[in-house]
Symmetry: C2
Subunit: 371 residues, 2 copies
């Protein structure tokens, strides 16, 4: 185990890895697990003290040290994706004033507008202001606060600026030995996690994954997928013949008291990939009405007009959203039709839902539209 | 709509329903929705005041009136099935002392011993005593309490005795017109809810349902299934051609703070139906460890040694059991293998579980055993 060691180059024909500072290690099998890194926006002041990206433990420790200094009263998050939204809760809990800005009109744009409205409401309930269509222009040292941001929407004071504007795969080493990259730009692999170069495998956020609903290879850098890919690569190198059949794009994040979950394709993605999507959104109940405090659960389903199959699902609510998307993930993985879903046998008891679950009701509504 | 009207007989050739007290109604289509009734144990004293069965709203009202009289301090539940266990919570909440007796050594015997132990613990935590292997012998008027029960394990005082010892399909009318009964004894139907007699349909607790995992027609009287069957029968009578493809036996009940859920077959059922079952039980976490109060979630999976397919699942815990069984219900419905389940894409975020969900961990353990 060599930690804190950089690889300078690879000779794939000789099976050698060259280390930074000299020396090399021979290999029979090589696994590219170079991951991805957080994008740091190229704006003036991006390297000032108090400006951080969020990706790994070292970033977390830096941010924590900065927060522990006690001088942080105001934070600005650049980017309304799920990483930024998850940070809001941690910052509010220690009393930091938080604003989230995004160049788009909505946070978490993978979710449809009906649901992102709920997210903005939930942020407001927790004194987090969302600034839509706001472009960061630069950061400089401030007077009232440590930093001062200029944006397309005026200036903002901040003691802490966090950039959560996406990640980018690390593929330079893979490219240096001419491994084939996929359409997404990440490393191309097959169902065994093999790359195009003999005895070289890849797993995790540096490579693509097969999306079973889309029917194509995509870039979907999530930790649970990376774990599965790593395991499959390891099993295959160890002599087993294991396939990783792919994902359905299941994901969830928590923003204060809201579960925000989805799987499969959005309508827009489905249309882009050549499907003929139809959707339906219902507001149901996550548990039995007489047991609840009137929590609402939004379920949006997308189906394919051509064959009636389920293409995607989004669920948002204070409870029960993860449960429904977990359930619907298997429906997506196995290619169930919306009609089949409408009569699916799910565990029912009054404390846990209606005799017709929100999934049934949503599926029935969509089945009507699908004809 | 004729309510409070009994049917005395049916002439299926003429398409006539004879009413109690005279008169008849002609029909083009007839739906048998005669349901089931609670079994009342045939023991001395079974009809004494204060002895109730639990099945429908009228029973609930009678029990409630009795409780409201204020004279109920002690209750005995005969039968440790889920109906009896669900009643415990309601009775404890109004301060009634509760004992649950069963002729079997465990409550809720559809769940395996590892889980029924937890149920007994949960009952004890809530001051409910479970009396195993106890046979009710008779009930008489008491002195210390309104009633006195004699059992194979001594005598019990009670002001209220509830019998939750199962239900029995009402099939007398169906039998009178020679409808074919299934192996279970309930009305036989096809996938459209048609019976063997022309223009006569059946739905709900009076008829069988197809169990997709068992691959056979079974009697499974649950409210959500009855609702689906009723809808399918109605759609077919209305001219659509809808099939009810069947169930996987998904079920759940709540006993105080415990979610007790299952779907598919137990090992014992699987063996009885000719499968070659292998099982594995793990204790995992329902949500991310750093977000939890160390809640444990038990997941037991049963697989088929012949083809690796999932045959059944049981999940018990303070939270997350319904979510997992809901998810696994679709896996059972679609016939996934345990190996497929071990790499299934499910929505992950730290507040909602581990990067490997309890489902993955359980599936991996079982996959090892299945080889």
């Amino acid at each position: 185990m060599r930690i804190r060691t950089n690889v300078e180059g690879i000779d794939a024909r000789k099976g050698l890895v060259y280390l930074d500072g000299g020396g090399s290690i021979p290999y029979d099998y090589l696994v590219m697990a170079t991951g991805a890194e957080a994008v740091r926006l190229d704006i003036p002041g991006k390297d000032l003290e108090g400006v951080h990206v969020i990706r790994d433990l070292t970033h977390a420790l830096k941010i924590k040290t900065h927060l522990n200094s006690g001088a942080v009263r105001k934070a600005v998050l650049i980017g309304g994706g799920y990483i930024g939204l998850e940070m809001c809760e941690a910052l509010r809990r220690i009393g930091v004033a938080v604003k989230v800005m995004d160049i788009l009109p909505r946070p978490a744009v993978r979710w449809d507008a009906e649901f992102t409205e709920l997210i903005v409401e939930e942020l407001e309930k927790n004194q987090v202001e969302f600034l839509p269509e706001t472009r960061p222009l630069g950061i400089e040292k401030g007077k009232a606060s440590a930093l001062r941001m200029t944006t397309s929407n005026g200036n903002l004071d901040a003691d802490l600026v966090l950039m959560g504007v996406g990640t980018r795969y690390n593929t330079a080493l893979a490219q240096s030995i001419l491994i084939r990259m996929g359409e997404s730009g990440a490393i191309g692999v097959d169902f065994h996690q093999m790359t195009s170069v003999e005895n070289v495998w890849a797993a995790g956020d540096c490579c693509e994954v097969f999306h079973k609903v889309a029917g194509r290879w995509v870039y979907f850098p999530l930790g649970d997928i990376a774990n599965k890919q790593g395991r499959v690569a390891g099993q295959n190198i160890g002599g087993s013949r294991v396939e990783f059949p792919g994902i359905v794009g299941a994901q969830v994040f928590k923003v204060f008291n809201l579960e925000v979950a989805s799987a499969g394709l959005t309508e827009e993605e489905a249309a882009r990939y050549g499907f003929d999507p139809v959707s339906s959104l219902i507001w149901g109940h996550p548990i039995g009405k007489s047991f609840s405090r009137c929590e609402r659960l939004g379920v949006k389903l997308v189906g394919d007009r051509n064959n009636g199959r389920l293409l995607g699902a989004q669920c948002v609510g204070e409870m029960g959203a993860v449960q429904r998307v977990s359930t619907l993930s298997i429906a997506l993985w196995t290619g169930l039709t919306v009609e089949q879903l409408a009569y699916m046998d799910l565990p029912y008891a009054p404390p846990f839902g209606g005799v017709w679950d929100a999934i049934h009701i949503a599926a029935r509504e969509l089945a009507k539209k699908l004809g």
